[in-house]
């Protein structure tokens, strides 16, 4: 992707719903260190002070920061998990962004690389890491390299940084796949046990943290928990970056206060560009929620009743066929299996094939389809089959009426092509 294309994805925020913590104000100035320090001030570490570490852990815990890469795992628990194991830890900042329609990690690393680097440095000080590895999408490699060069010039960081260009592919961003990519050049998951926090890169405890999470950490380290909680809801504090895609006027990345009305979130992108029937929330592992019901709900996991995942929101037009969209998405996700585990390797293509028949309103083994979806869950070394199963269940539920139409050979969509953005389906 060219930088011009990347820039087009950098949407513009408006007040109230939008809230600029991570992204600099517009017009976007060059993301240099001087501007960064002027805006945020310096982040002071005292890695050798137990009192400073205890106080900082306390602030992170009270802030209630959770991972912004998709799993929403409490950041403080992951940080503390590293301390329980032997060996000098590594910190890996995960900017792989394998989620096809998501742009937020790239926009963040292009616009505020120093905030991510601050957070990574803070995490390294807290867990005593000897090295930080920035795994970043190739589109923003230059931005990260330039930011690090500037920091080295003034010897800002005491921990060593290394930059690795991320691997392609949907599963490449999974924590163990990132460790496997850095360690052995193979971007495929290693399995659920042991945890990376226990034995990761080179067998040492490894913190794999999404870059947006680290950027928030860089701010919590400066301003503390109370400041962090001034925005967002009590249960889901802070802001998050969202990628607004599909049928909205201006697709792009926006920073929103969690809990803002969902319609207001969409308005950051100029609102829907045509009548919409559903929103895909979270990512391609995400969940469909029907519209307009979703529009009046708070944009939060508890408000929408679904996980916000990596912050992707895709608006699906009313004129399109939800069954067809699902079939295409699942075919893509099947192509992205690492092919290591049988239920994923064989189950996903079989499921995709039945969904394609269903989408074409042709005879389909519907009972087998739903049984396979149930059976693949929990039977992979990573969460890939689980994510696909979750997506399909929500699609069969939200597009239930349309599924019934297709089962009797009809399709009610006026526009027979799929609309969701997908990369070319190439197996890994």
């Amino acid at each position: 992707m060219s930088s011009a294309q990347l820039l087009r994805h950098m949407g513009s925020n408006q007040p109230t719903t939008g809230c600029r913590r991570l992204l600099p104000p517009e017009p976007w100035a060059p993301a240099g260190l001087a501007a960064h320090l002027q805006r945020h001030g310096a982040l002071v570490h005292h890695p050798s002070s137990d009192a400073w570490r205890a106080a900082t852990f306390g602030e992170i815990e009270r802030a209630g920061l959770v991972g912004r890469g998709g799993a929403a795992f409490p950041t403080v628990r992951k940080l503390r998990a590293l301390l329980a194991h032997r060996g000098r830890p590594f910190v890996i900042a995960n900017g792989t962004e394998g989620e096809p329609a998501s742009m937020k990690d790239r926009v963040l690393l292009a616009r505020s690389p120093n905030l991510v680097l601050d957070g990574a440095a803070l995490a390294a000080s807290l867990v005593g890491a000897g090295e930080i590895i920035m795994v970043v999408h190739r589109d923003v490699r230059d931005s990260v390299d330039a930011a690090l060069a500037e920091r080295r010039r003034i010897r800002l960081d005491s921990t060593k940084f290394r930059v690795v260009t991320a691997a392609d592919g949907f599963v490449a961003g999974e924590a163990s796949a990132v460790v496997n990519w850095v360690g052995r050049g193979a971007p495929i998951p290693l399995g659920k046990a042991p945890r990376m926090t226990e034995r990761g890169l080179q067998g040492r405890p490894t913190l794999v943290q999404n870059v947006e999470t680290l950027a928030h950490l860089g701010l919590v380290g400066r301003h503390g928990a109370e400041w962090f909680r001034q925005v967002g809801t009590a249960d889901e504090p802070g802001t998050m970056l969202v990628t607004l895609a599909g049928s909205v006027v201006r697709r792009g990345v926006f920073e929103v206060a969690i809990g803002a009305r969902t319609s207001h979130v969409l308005e950051l992108a100029g609102g829907p560009s045509e009548p919409i029937q559903a929103l895909l929330i979270g990512g391609y592992f995400g969940t469909w929620v029907p519209s307009p019901a979703a529009l009046s709900l708070p944009f939060s996991a508890s408000g929408l009743g679904v996980g916000l995942g990596a912050g992707l929101v895709v608006a699906l037009p009313a004129a399109r066929c939800g069954v067809l969209e699902t079939a295409q998405l699942v075919r893509y996700l099947a192509s992205q299996s690492a092919g290591q585990c049988g239920p994923c390797k064989f189950g996903l293509p079989a499921i995709a094939e039945q969904l394609e028949l269903l989408a074409a309103a042709m005879p389909v083994r519907f009972d087998d389809l739903t049984r396979w979806v149930d059976e693949i869950e929990g039977r992979g070394a990573c969460g890939h089959p689980d994510g696909v199963a979750r997506h399909i269940r929500s699609a069969l539920d939200v597009f239930g009426d349309e599924v019934s139409e297709h089962l009797v050979g009809r399709c009610s969509a006026s526009e027979k092509r799929a609309s969701l953005p997908l990369p070319t389906c190439e197996p890994l």
Partner: protein, 83 residues
């Protein structure tokens, strides 16, 4: 009466020969591609011997018997390593 062991499978090592399902159909069902679907929970007392036989017969050494750890570590932590 439940025993204190559970069956665990290394999904990456497993290549779907289906031996385990033949040895222990009480606890292991095979999916349409021959890969095991293991019943939840600990191995019932009377089936421990058969479970051990199934483990020993796995040509890929993908099936294991493990001590049944308390479930205090499961729950939300299971999603920790997902991205």
């Amino acid at each position: 009466m439940k025993s204190s062991v559970v069956l665990r499978i290394d999904r990456i090592a497993c290549d779907g020969r289906g031996t385990c399902g033949e040895f222990l159909p009480e606890l292991i069902e095979l999916d349409d591609w021959g890969y095991p679907i293991i019943a939840d929970g600990p191995v019932p007392r009377g089936l421990e011997r058969l479970a051990l036989a199934a483990v020993e017969m796995c040509p890929k050494m993908a099936l294991q018997l493990r001590a049944n750890e308390d479930d205090t570590r499961s729950g939300s932590e299971s999603t920790e390593e997902l991205r």
